[in-house]
Structure formats: structure tokens, C-alpha cells
Symmetry: C2
Subunit: 593 residues, 2 copies
Amino acid sequence: MSTYQAPLREMLFTMKEIGGLDAVCALPGHEETTPDLVEAILEEAGKFAAGVLDPINYPGDQQGARWQAGVVTAADGFRQAYASFCETGWNAMPARTEFGGQGLPTLVSTAVLEMWKSANMAFSLCQMLTLGAVEAIAHHGSAVLKQRFLPKMVAGEWTGTMNLTEPQAGSDLSAVRSRAVPEGDHYRVSGTKIFITWGEHDLAENIVHLVLARLPEAPAGVKGISLFVCPKFLVNDDGSLGARNDLVCASIEHKLGIHASPTAVMSFGEGPGAIGYLVGEPHKGLGYMFTMMNHARLNVGLEGVGISERAYQHARAYALDRVQGRTLTGSKTIIGHPDVRRMLLDMKARTEAMRALAYYAAGQMDRAHAHADADARARSQALVELLTPVVKGWCTENALGIASDGVQVHGGMGFVEETGAAQYLRDARITTIYEGTTGIQANDLIGRKLAREGGVTMRALIAQMRSDADRIGDGPDAQLVALGQPLRGGLQALADAVDWLLAVSASQPAQAAASAVPFLQLTGTVVGGWLMARSAEAAVAQLSAGSADTDFLSAKVATVRHYMAHVMAEAGGLRDIVTAGAATTLALADHQF
Amino acid sequence: MSTYQAPLREMLFTMKEIGGLDAVCALPGHEETTPDLVEAILEEAGKFAAGVLDPINYPGDQQGARWQAGVVTAADGFRQAYASFCETGWNAMPARTEFGGQGLPTLVSTAVLEMWKSANMAFSLCQMLTLGAVEAIAHHGSAVLKQRFLPKMVAGEWTGTMNLTEPQAGSDLSAVRSRAVPEGDHYRVSGTKIFITWGEHDLAENIVHLVLARLPEAPAGVKGISLFVCPKFLVNDDGSLGARNDLVCASIEHKLGIHASPTAVMSFGEGPGAIGYLVGEPHKGLGYMFTMMNHARLNVGLEGVGISERAYQHARAYALDRVQGRTLTGSKTIIGHPDVRRMLLDMKARTEAMRALAYYAAGQMDRAHAHADADARARSQALVELLTPVVKGWCTENALGIASDGVQVHGGMGFVEETGAAQYLRDARITTIYEGTTGIQANDLIGRKLAREGGVTMRALIAQMRSDADRIGDGPDAQLVALGQPLRGGLQALADAVDWLLAVSASQPAQAAASAVPFLQLTGTVVGGWLMARSAEAAVAQLSAGSADTDFLSAKVATVRHYMAHVMAEAGGLRDIVTAGAATTLALADHQF
């Protein structure tokens, strides 16, 4: 079985040329993050990913997490790997410094998180949930809560969870029924939550559950939901662990993938009620959750990148090794079969575009947090908000096809589990669902992010992309000139779709919603293509400047051309689906399906 | 969990309007196959599928077939279901009458086989392999072999297998190494074969293996391969079972899907060599195998239809039942969310187009076999050969996306195995691989089926489709007129791609091969769209004639419009990928991946 190697050269290129690493490192507060330090961090992370997380990925999938009588045992090797992960500071790395994190730019932590997701997606979820909970408490919790929980959580001694979903409610959080009754300085929480990632396990000594519940006489709907901290073990004033709280893992799910990540059904308050502490103010819990959901959504988008990179590496290794038949291109192995080559290059081109998009958003997030200029912060924040559903939705939808192509490259061996390729398809399959399905991302994109502000940020982005397309397409380099026409065509398709959506969104919301996912796909395709074109521009510039890294740089240019010919080629059809497809989607009555 | 119900109304409509059921029933030899009889057969088959095969589908997936010391035990209930399947004549149904089959038109058996594949794809494979082996022996075997093996195989008392693949050779059959040494009236066969579907099991008292092997001093490559019959138990002259042959199931694969279908590693000749009987002449085995492979390829394409129908029914049932959030269309359940509706309608439209294509090919197969006019037979045969790789490749590639969308409609529940939706995705994943990967189908399409005859059959088909498009698009009905423009656009895209391929295939074979799969996708999209437009035309005619079946017929028209707006919309992009994408696919050196 192939082993994962972090694509350091590609990551650093994308961080610098697309994420704007130099500018990010120059932001106030990041002065100590030098390019050399970043490179060293990435190298060490790559070693940890390849040496510790990768070897337990396939065995963890095969064995899975196990539940017995409320106790969940992680797959073999996960305890040791997690201990090492925390000891070496990787758990704390992305967190803010005040609670023990390293306060590195999001752009840097994004590249590192991608490695965890490539090497072992099931493992990576534990940290993702913990740091999401840290964010929520750090932003909205009282000083007491922060002091009591955050240092241990940042260090990884305690992990965190998000308890949102209930069986009857699914994604509709307005239907949450869990209850919280005041009792002195705390509350008694009761209710059943499902789909709780790493909701119970034996990696850490305590688990800090963030739980959405309703206070007595809370308003109905989303405005009556509050957020509580319910630790598995209560915490004494001296920080030591106290009694077991009234919450239990009732079962874990038998899932298609991420078998080593226990997905728990959590039962709160089977006895007197789980003791919980209110986070922030009553009835504002949903807003607090959304604080961390945007970050989580970017991270799930990054899972799309990570699992795609992994599937690509695995398929590439097989194609470079497997001898079968005479190839038309002269290669000895099946990589010489043109269709195998096409699949691999599709996987590579899409993955690089997805990475470019995710790193671009991460770089904008750093600017939004730390730029000295308030207008620049606001512009970056608007971009982050616009692109968050696109990173989440487009990268994960792409990952499904990429992981499936990875199986296909292996032929019959791809269908045999021990080859390992099938695991990536099974693991990837959750990414378009959790943290909000692609449909939910797309409605967020066309509603809150596009229509609500009349398309201002999107149109500004299109203007910037057009300016870049003109510079690239009208320049002196023939390879770059060839990118101009498909990029401009894609931009026109996106602009047409934006015009249509803005025209119908108020008067025909169902039509707009019917076109939302194709519009998200179109946005990702075009914005990803723009960033790929900029990558090619940077590669040509480095080649012209005499860089010795010609293999990598010329491959980058060729990969961008493939993207334009094979992925951007879909933009016109997507525009037509957006603008002409909604009516037919709504034409059938329910009983005619 | 939803249960499968055969879509009888839709099947009969497609058989009549697209497959040409009336004309097929009027062919010489099929006079007794009346429309009433066909309807009765389909109803009974639907009952068997829903009542016997469907209930063991999910449990069979969860339990799987089990191997111990060479013995394979089928999942619980499979033995009983198989016995019932044979007793009621379903196993024999598609076979020719001379050995006990019912000699029904392929069009009719195709609809019935689709039901087995929908209800229980793992189960259906046993019959498919048996009847494939029957075909090969019936076409190429001696009278003795036919008399000894076929009646029992047609009845299902003995099952059949195809032993092609070897570990080192994969799809490259020229590399087959298994040996056969003459010994009296038989041969001694030795070698290892992998991926042998239903290669060992306990459903039947004997298993008849068809094995590709080389005679001593056979020519190298594909022209030195012969075909042998190696029964698990030797057969005495009186037809009773004799000694165990020297062949054993060494293991079965742990696969992503079709868990209830044992995929065997078969070891022939660990002792003195397995006794085998030569089929036909020496060195002609590969050609004989291809006889049955075309049939098998159409049947695997049909698996794409069957699994898509099943995934659609499952998702539809959930969407009509699950209450979550307020919908924009007024429906109480999630089918009212426009994006859920879009996914379901995409699934429905694609599945109906795939079915139309498969039934159309089946109807042409009947004409090719039985039409009184030799020219008509030849025209139909040419169409069957052209369309076989399209049915196989396009229907199965579509099935991957459809089964994946089926998971997505279920949200988080789709990722939980007990929901059942994930099984269809796992099962579907093999269909683009076995019986020749999509890449192999596409190379067959552009090479043997297109370039070798200079595009004659394809261009004749395009001319016919254009004539139909003119009739439909220029007629008086506004709904049909709306289909004209997208259909003509798709046809132009296909014609452009054909021109490009014919221009480059001789001089630049690697470029042609790089565009082969996108070309196959384009062909399926456009031919499927043509058949959908003809379905709409027939539905409008029936409505105009006063049919009372308005719900079904108006749904058909709306579904065709959706297909044009959402699927045919991809044709232009596919044309561009075919004609402009090959160069970039071949631009990278192996080490640059």
C-alpha cells in the first residue's frame, strides 16, 4: 500500500503565490512567522503525518472504534498517536496563544491540517472538534469557563464536541428539543443528540461537550436556543476531575466510512440531568455555534482537499508501478494508457485548484483578523464569508469524484478493500453532508452571501478576476495567453449566473434555490480556475527568472492548461443549468416522482 | 427501509415506445410472445423481486458470503431464494428453448433482469455468469459438451463462471499464463485465476468453470489462448456427478460492495491438473469469450440501470416521508426543498434515459437475431455493436453519481449503513470496472466501433436522430418544440466530436484514446437524450389521444425537459473536452505526476 507524503513543494508554492504567505507573515502579530519557520513546521508536520498518522489509517478503518456498555475504545494505535500528537504540540498549534496555542496564521495551520486529513481523516476530526469548541468558548464563554476548560482543551488533555443534531430535527436546528433547567450557578441538561463526532472515546481523560438546548419558556424556533458546556467529568475548583456527569454514549453508528472516528448517540440527563454551564447569554446559542461553524466548514472543505490528495497519491503510485498491456505513450506501466493519464491529471488539477481556493480563503481569513487597515479587514472578511460555502461545498463534491476516480485507476484491485483506495471514497462520502450539506452551503451562498448584499462582494471579485484574466490573457507568454479564453468564458458564465440569481432571488425564491447547487459548482469551478491561472502566471514568472525547479513549474503550467480544457469546460453548461434548469426541477408534483 | 417495487408502468412504456415491443413480438420465432403475456411475465417477476430477492439484499450485504477451507457459504436465505428462482423457471427464462429456456425476446428478458439487479445485484450475478457460460458452450461447444452441461445449467442445477483474469495480467488477456496439457480426450489445466464471480458457493450441486489457458507451444499473445470447461465435480456418462476435480477456491475477496456475491481466487491444478474439455478449436478461446462478453457488457450496463432505479426509489421514499424544515414549495416533507427535488429529478431523468438506451439496444439485438430481412439484421447488429460499450460505460458511470446522490438525499442518515442507501453506492462501484473498465469500453467505441468502419454506423445514427429532432422540434406541440433546440445542440456536439475523432484516430491514436471516455459520455448523453425526446413525443401523442394515464405521461414529458436542461446541457462542454482536451492530458512526463 502506498504511503502518504506531504506535497511540500506544492503546498509552499500555493501558500506563497495564492495564499500570500509573505503578506500574511507581515501582518501585525505574525512578525515571528518567518518563511523559514513555516517551511520547518511543514516539514515536521509532514514527518508526523507520514510516520505516525498514516500507518494507523487503514488498520483503523478496518478495525473501527468499538462501543460496549457506554464505553468507546478507539482503534489500535490511536491512543498512542494522540498522546504523541499532543505532546509534540500539534494539537495546540492552530489555537491562539493566550491558552497555550502557537497563534500561527490560519494559512499555515491550514496546510498542516490538510496533512492530518490526508494521512488520517478519522483521527483529524478529534482535533477539529476540540478546536471548534475552544473557539466557541474563547469567543463567548465567561472568564471562569475559559480558565477552567481552555488550557486543557488546547493542550489536548481534554477534547471537545459539538452537540447540535437531534433525531427528529436533522439540519433544522429550530426544532431542537433538548432542555436545560436552571439550578444555582448551573443548569440541568437533558435530551438526545446524534451524530456526535468523537462524542465518546478513550484518548483523553475528559470530554467537553458543547450542547444546544432550550431554557424553560424559551421562544420557539432558532431564537430560543442556548449553548451549554457539559463536561463528561465535572471539574473541581482546583482543576482536578470530579464526579461523572449525567451523560452517556448510548451507541455509535455503523457507518460507510471514517470508521475510526466514533460517531456517538449522546444521551443527556437520564438521571437528574447533566450539569451544564451556560455559554454567553441565553437564547443566543445558535449564533455562537455559527461562529465556530464557519471555521469548521472551511476545515471540512479542507478534508475534500486532503482526501483528494491522498487518493491521487495512492492512484499515482499504482499507475507508476502496475505493468499491464502495451501503452500508447511508451510508458512501461499503466500511467502510459491515455485514459489512466486523463484520470490522474483530472485528479491532480482539481485537487490543486481546490487547495488554491482553500489556501486563498485562509490567507483572507488572516487578513480579516489582523490587517492594520479596517477597510482591508472588512474586504477580506466579506471574501471569507462569500467563499466559505464554496470551499466547503465545491471541494467536498469534487472529492467524491476524485476518490471514485482513484478507485477506477486501480481497476478490479480498487474494489478490493485491502488495496486501500476504496477507503478514501467511503471516507470522502461524509464530507458533502456534515457541517451542512452541499444544498445548505449553496443556499447560504445564494442567500446570505449573494442576494442579501445585492451581489456586491461577488461582483467585486468578478471584476478582480476579469482584470487578472486580461493581464494573463493579453501578456506575452503563449502558454498563459492560451488560458485567457477559457478563463474569460468561465467568468462570463459566472457573471450571467449571478445576474440571473439576483434577478429572481426575491421574486422566485424556489427557483433560485433549485439552481443553488449548480451555481455553487460554477462558482467553485471559475474561482478555482482563476487561482489556477494565477498559479500558472507565477510559475511562468519563476521559469523566466531562471528557476531551476523546471519540472515542478512546467508541470504546474501543464496542469493549469488541463484544468482549463477539462474542468473550466463545464462552466458554460453549468451556467445554462443555473439559468434555464430551475423551471423543470419544480415542474413535477410530489406524487409524480 | 424502503422496499423495491418494479416500475412496471415505466418499463412497459419504454419497452413499447423505445424498444419496439410490438415489432419485436412480430419477429419470426416470437409470435407467441403477446403483449398480454409480456405484461404477465413482468408482473410475476416484479413479485419475485420484491417478495424474495429484495428482503435478503441488505442482510446479505451485511453478512456477506463466507469462506472457510475452500468452502464458500452464501449469506443466509440465498440458498432458499436460489432454489425458488430455479424452480419457478426464472433462471431458465432468458435462455434458448433447445436446452430448456423459454426463448423470450432479449427485450423482455432485459426488463426482467433489470428487476433482479434492482432487487439484489449480488444475487443476480450468479444467473448472469451461468447464462454467459451457457451462451459460450451453446455457440462453440461440441454436441457432447452441450448435451452434458447445458440442460443442467439452464435449469440452474449447476451454475457457471468465467475464469479470465490472472493476478499479473488484469485486463490484458494476452498475458494469460494458465496451462492446459492434453491427456486423452481431455486436458489437464493449471493456473491461478482471480476475480471469479460466484466461483465457489453452496447454492448448486456443481459449478461449471470456463477457463482461458494456453496449450503447450501455443503462440504468444491473444492468439494462443484456448477455452476449457472445468467442472467442479466431474460428470459421469449417465449425467451423475463423479469425482471432485482438481480445482479449489483459495480465498474470496473482502470487497467494497456486492458482499453477498463471492469473488473467488480459483486455483486449478494443485495436484495432477484439473480435468478440462476444450471448447471449439485450439487458440480461439478469446474470440469465444468475446461472444459472451458483449452480452455480459449489456447486462452490466443494465446493472447501472437497476441499481440507479433502486437508489432512486429508496431516496424518493425517504424524501416523501422525512419532515425537516419549512420547504419553499409547500410540501410537508423534504421533497419540497428545491435541491432535494433537483437531485431526485436528476436521478429519475438519468435512470429513465439509461433504461431507454438499454432497452433500445435489447430491441435491436432481437432484430439482429430474428429479423426476416438480412439487411435489417445487419443494420441492427451494427447498432448493437456500436451501442454495447455505451450501454456498459455510460449507464454504469451514471449509476455512480446517482447512487451517490441517493446517499446525499438522506443527509447524515445516508452515511449510516442501516439506512441502506450506502449499499447501492458500494455495489454500483464495481460496475464501471468489471467486464471491462469504462476506459476499455471507450477504446472499443472509438476503435473497433467507430474508426474501423469510418464512422458509418454512427453517422447513420446521427442522421436518424437529426431527422427525429426535426420532426419533434418543428411539430405543433409547444412542450416538444422546447426539446428541439437542446437536442439539436447535443447532436451537433456529437457530430463535431465524431469528426474530430475520425480525423485523428489513425494519425494520433494516443490523442484519440485520451478523449475516448469523454466521447463515450457524450455519446450516451446525446443518444439517451434522443430516446428521451422520443419518449416525450410518444407521451404527448398518448395524451392527445385521450389517455387517462395523465400523471405518468405528463411526468414523463416534464422529466424529459429536465433531462434536456440538466443533462444534455453538458454536451457542449463534453465536445470541447473531446476536441481540445487531449493535448493537455498527454503534456506531462511520467515523473511530473
